[in-house]
Symmetry: C2
Subunit: 276 residues, 2 copies
C-alpha cells in the first residue's frame, strides 16, 4: 500500500517521501475534509480560525484532527519566510480502510499539505469587481454535512464545468429549494442598507473562514449582520453584493445574469477590516 | 507527482508500480466513479452489464471511460482462473488537476483495480435472511448525480457508522423527503402480490447492476416490476422484501425495526434467475 511521492511541494503525513494509498478512504469515498489557506512570508493567514474550522469539520465526520503543532511543522517544512505569498491546501482523511463503507475499528487519519502558487487573479477583479454565472447545478440538502468543507465536491465540479468564459469569476449556486447558497469556491454576502446578509447554511453549503471573519468584524463598518434564507430575487434586489474566500479575499459583484450593480466600495472596505 | 505502489493486489493505470497522485481529482473532490464486481475463476461476473454501467456513470460526470479491452487486460493481470472467487473494485477518476474545481482542458482519466477477498458473509444471511438497521442519515437529493455510483460517498459512510451490531446486515436509507431509497451497500425490492417494486432513483441513490438484472428477469418468476416512489410505511406493508448487490447476490429481509417478515422464498428464486 506504500507509495513514494516525488515532489517538493507535497507533504504526506509530514514526509516528502510519503504516499497516497489506493485504499485511503479519502480516495475511495471522499471520506475527509480540506482547507485552502493563504501563506504570507511562510505564515498561514488567519491560522487560528482555519485550524478551529479544520477541527470542527473533522469532528463533524468523526475524524480526529492532527494537532496544530503537527500542521505548523508541515508549514515550516513546505514554506519559507522568503516567499511573499503562496497557497497551502490541507487535506485530512480517515486514512486507509478495507473495502466497504464501515471505517476500521482503529483509524489512522492521513494528512496532506500541498503547496501551490496563488492564482494569477486579474487585477480588475479587485479594482472593478466581477461577473458571476448562475449555475444550473444545484446544491443538494444534507444537514449532517452542511457547512463542512468535506471531500465530496462533485456538485462544485459539475457547477464549475458549466462555463468557460475567463471573464466570469465564479458561479452562483442555488440549492434544490431555490435558495441562494454560495459560489463554487466562495461565500456570498448581500447588503441592504446597513444590514449585511449571508445565506443560512444549515442544509448545505460550506461555511468558510472569510465569511466568519466578515461576520465578526462587520460592526466596525457600522454594518449589522444577518444569516437568512435568501432566494435569487432577494439577492438581485440587494444594494451591493460581494463574494469572499481565503485566497482572493473579497470581490465586489458587478453582474449576475441581466442584473448589474454600480461600482461601490463594500469589497474595498471589507478587505480593509479583514487585515486590521 | 509520481508514486510507486507496492502491492500485488492493486493495479494503477494497468501497472503494479503505478501511483495515486495527491493531485488526483478522485482524491481531491471524489471526482470519479467506481464499480464492485465479483470475479469467479478469473472472470468478472455480469461483465457486460457492469461495463455498460461504468461507461454510463463516467459519462454522467464527463469522464471518458477506458475501453473494455483495457479493463479486461487489468482483470487478466490481477486474477487467475485458479481462484474460485474474489472481488474487483474498479475506480475511474478524472485524473490529475491543478488546485481548483475546474478540470484541466485536457484530462487523463486514471484507473485503479483493487483485488480483495469476497467478504466472509454469514451463511444464515443466505439461509434465514437478514435484519436491517433504519439509518438516521438521509440521502440528499441531487438529480444530476442520481443513480450514479460516484466517489462522493460520505452519506453512506455516515450511515454505516450508525450501527456496530454484526447481526445487522445493512442499513436502510431514506431520502430527505422520507422516501425509501436503498441500503448503504445494496438496492432494495418489495413484493406486493405479483408486483416486484423498487424505489425510483431519479433524485438520489445508486442504481446497481443487480437491481437492473432483477428487473430484466423477474418476468421469468411471473412477477411484474415497478419503479415507484415508496415511503417506509409502504415498504413495511410489503409481502416480502429483499436486498441485492453484486457480491452477495440477494438476501431476504426478515426484520426492520419492529417489523418481522416470515421466512419466504423470493431471495432464493431471484438468486436462481440471476444465474440462469
Amino acid at each position: 500500500m506504500l507509495a513514494m511521492q516525488m515532489s517538493d511541494s507535497i507533504l504526506i503525513n509530514g514526509s516528502f517521501n510519503g504516499a497516497i494509498s489506493a485504499l485511503d478512504r479519502g480516495f475511495s469515498y471522499g471520506d475527509g475534509v480540506f482547507r485552502t489557506v493563504k501563506v504570507v512570508h511562510g505564515l498561514p493567514e488567519h491560522w487560528p480560525v482555519h485550524y478551529q474550522k479544520l477541527v470542527k469539520d473533522c469532528s463533524a465526520i468523526g475524524i480526529v484532527c492532527p494537532s496544530a503543532e503537527v500542521l505548523i511543522n508541515d508549514f515550516e517544512q513546505l514554506f519559507s519566510m522568503e516567499e511573499l505569498v503562496a497557497v497551502a491546501k490541507i487535506i485530512i482523511t480517515r486514512g486507509e480502510g478495507e473495502r466497504g463503507y464501515n471505517p476500521p475499528a482503529i483509524t489512522n487519519p492521513m494528512r496532506v499539505m500541498i503547496k501551490s502558487s496563488l492564482p494569477n487573479y486579474p487585477q480588475h477583479h479587485f479594482d472593478e469587481g466581477v461577473s458571476l454565472h448562475l449555475c444550473e447545478t444545484r446544491v443538494g440538502h444534507q444537514p449532517k454535512l452542511a457547512g463542512v468543507k468535506h471531500l465530496n465536491r462533485l456538485e462544485n465540479v459539475l457547477a464549475r464545468m458549466e462555463w468557460h468564459d475567463p471573464k466570469i469569476a465564479d458561479g452562483l449556486m442555488l440549492d434544490i429549494a431555490n435558495n441562494v447558497i454560495e459560489c463554487t469556491a466562495a461565500n456570498i454576502f448581500a447588503r441592504y442598507d446597513n444590514v449585511l446578509m449571508t445565506p443560512q447554511l444549515d442544509q448545505c453549503g460550506v461555511a468558510g473562514v472569510t465569511r466568519k471573519q466578515i461576520m465578526a468584524r462587520a460592526h466596525t463598518l457600522l454594518l449589522k449582520t444577518a444569516v437568512e434564507t435568501m432566494d435569487l430575487k432577494q439577492l438581485l434586489s440587494a444594494d451591493e453584493v460581494i463574494i469572499c474566500n481565503s485566497l482572493f479575499g473579497v470581490w465586489q459583484v458587478r453582474q449576475l445574469e441581466n442584473k448589474k450593480w454600480f461600482k461601490q466600495d463594500l469589497a474595498i472596505n471589507l478587505r480593509k477590516i479583514l487585515h486590521s
